[in-house]
């Protein structure tokens, strides 16, 4: 029980970090923590070897994201208005409350542990909010990765296929590579 609550709290705290800070390094640290929490959650269902694929692929993706951001000139830590931060946080808080309210009924559809379901659906909803309030491609990628992490936690609780795990890891890495591709656009612009 304590571990479950701790996992839920850690997942929400990691996402909260991504939401509130402007520094891209801290956001990436938040995402890395999310992957770690996801790993611990999946570890309760899957063998260590298969669960660690999720963690390794996620962190590989994060390494790619960091490298692309380091090479990009678009890494200024733009300061956001406090009102924007409060709005984002309240929106996400609302999502967490809504998920807490509807999770028991979703649990009737999806017979998986409540902790996994709550973390998964909360992350999916939060990622959606995070992604929809921005036009910045890096933030869109962070939001997409959050949604995929949430879905991964739910889907891993339902099915444990090696092929799906492999392809899913490949998808995560490709999405991170896309971020690198678009940060090269910024470099091109600077050269011009």
């Amino acid at each position: 029980m304590f571990l479950n609550n701790l996992l839920i709290f850690s997942a929400l705290a990691a996402f909260g970090l991504m939401l509130i800070v402007s520094d891209w390094r801290m956001r990436i640290a938040g995402l890395a923590s999310l992957y770690f929490v996801g790993f611990i959650v999946i570890l309760q269902i899957w063998p260590v070897a298969l669960a660690s694929v999720k963690l390794i692929s996620g962190w590989m993706g994060i390494a790619l994201l960091s490298t692309s951001m380091l090479n990009s000139v678009d890494q200024a830590n733009d300061h956001r208005f406090n009102s924007e931060m409060i709005f984002r946080f309240l929106m996400t808080g609302l999502i967490w409350i809504v998920v807490a309210a509807i999770a028991p009924s979703i649990n009737e559809w999806l017979p998986i542990p409540y902790t996994n379901l709550y973390i998964g659906v909360s992350l999916m909803g939060s990622g959606l909010i995070f992604m929809s309030l921005t036009e910045d491609f890096f933030e869109i990628i962070l939001g997409l990765l959050t949604i995929l992490t949430g879905f991964d936690i739910i889907y891993s609780s339902l099915e444990g296929s090696a092929l799906v795990t492999g392809i899913y890891a490949f998808v995560i890495i490709l999405i991170c590579l896309l971020s690198g591709y678009f940060s090269s656009i910024v470099l091109y612009k600077e050269e011009e």
Partner: protein, 464 residues
Amino acid sequence: MNAPIIWIISPAVIAILLLFIKNETFQDYLYIGISLMFSVLTLFIKIDLVGERGFLTIGIPSVLNILGRSFILLESDKFLIFLVYFFNAIWGSNSVILKRSARFIPLGLIYTAFLLAAVSVEPFLYSALIMEIAVIMSIPLLVSPRAANKSGISRYLIFQTMAMPFILLAGWFLAGGEISPVNPEQLVQATILLGLGFIFWLAIYPFHSWVPMVFDETDPINSGFIFLLLHTIYFILILKYIDGFAWLRTYSVFFQALRFLGIIMASFGSIGLFFEKSIRKMIGFEFLHSIGILLVAVGLSTTRGIPLFSYLIGSRLISFSILSWSVSRFESLETRMSILSFKDLTQKRPIAGASFLFSLLALTGMPLTIGFPPQQTLYQYLAADYPTILVLMILSNILITVTVLKLTKEVLRKKYELIYLLSALKEDLFLVFVITVFIVFGFFPRTILVRFEHLVSGFKFLIN
């Protein structure tokens, strides 16, 4: 050696090797040659050959096993394989002839390989994951790193990625329901999940906004190649789902929803096209309109709708390709052109202008075009059972026809000298050839459209 190794793994490996060739012209020719080779191979190779082997016939197995799952390409999939590689070769040749640098050379082969992998994976519910890889891979093939605007591409990525969780979850729901019926509550849940996945995949209202945006942000030679292939495969996968689940085939609400969404898309597309000024966005709206027509065809009863769907997708592939090529030809003069400058552009590129108008007419199903027979049959079927949808469908096609007539009127205001036209003919010899073949197909449409029946021949529960 087996079919997936030949048509999925080899093209992907060859595409990577082609990346090392520095000479772009040589790379283009190799790409065309290799694509043509893979399409021609379908004529000589028999999959799972039983009995006597002919002279020049090679027999190979159909299955490749990876990590406990199978990739299976059957004899009935050979037309699809032929089609996608021939499509690669034709679009590659076009980019060379029209002197447009196509971003899909050489990585288009990997993209094609992933699309085929999605069709061939068993259990086929995993195709959503492979399609996601194909979508991510398509983005560098669509957008240059120098592109300033990428909001359409971002939306494309988001909406296509959102489809994957829904389809995978629906797959889990249905895992036990392939033969035995699932309970009614489960049926509704699975249909909702599957439906949401399809809606995201096919860019159906209200998730359609990215289509005109992406068409506006990308060169038509790239967007046409990527999206025509992608949506053809999406439709094949949807048919595979309908064929694979007995309960889905008999679930009338599902087909009602397809017809309803289809007519919404057709109407949206035609209204958008009617009011649009940007030519690139116009082809985006025409794309939405044609998705709608295909959805309505699939939404008819399976015995009638599916063969009709195969004709419609054949005529759409041909007409939409010519539409994209003609816009691409225009763009050698001016990128992102407006409809307001259509008259002047047509003066400089009369053949491209004619191809543009003629292909739009074919997509609306005008008589003496390749789109006429399938569209006419669709009207007949709709008149028998769904008159409201028929009226809306005719109205949507009228809107596009009026747009074409408006443009034709603009073009005819100007006088063209014969010598000038002759020089234009010489310049656009390839388009002249294409449009001539296109017109001939309009007179004898069955000669080519009937071959597209092979596209659905593998769906034994849908065509019998």
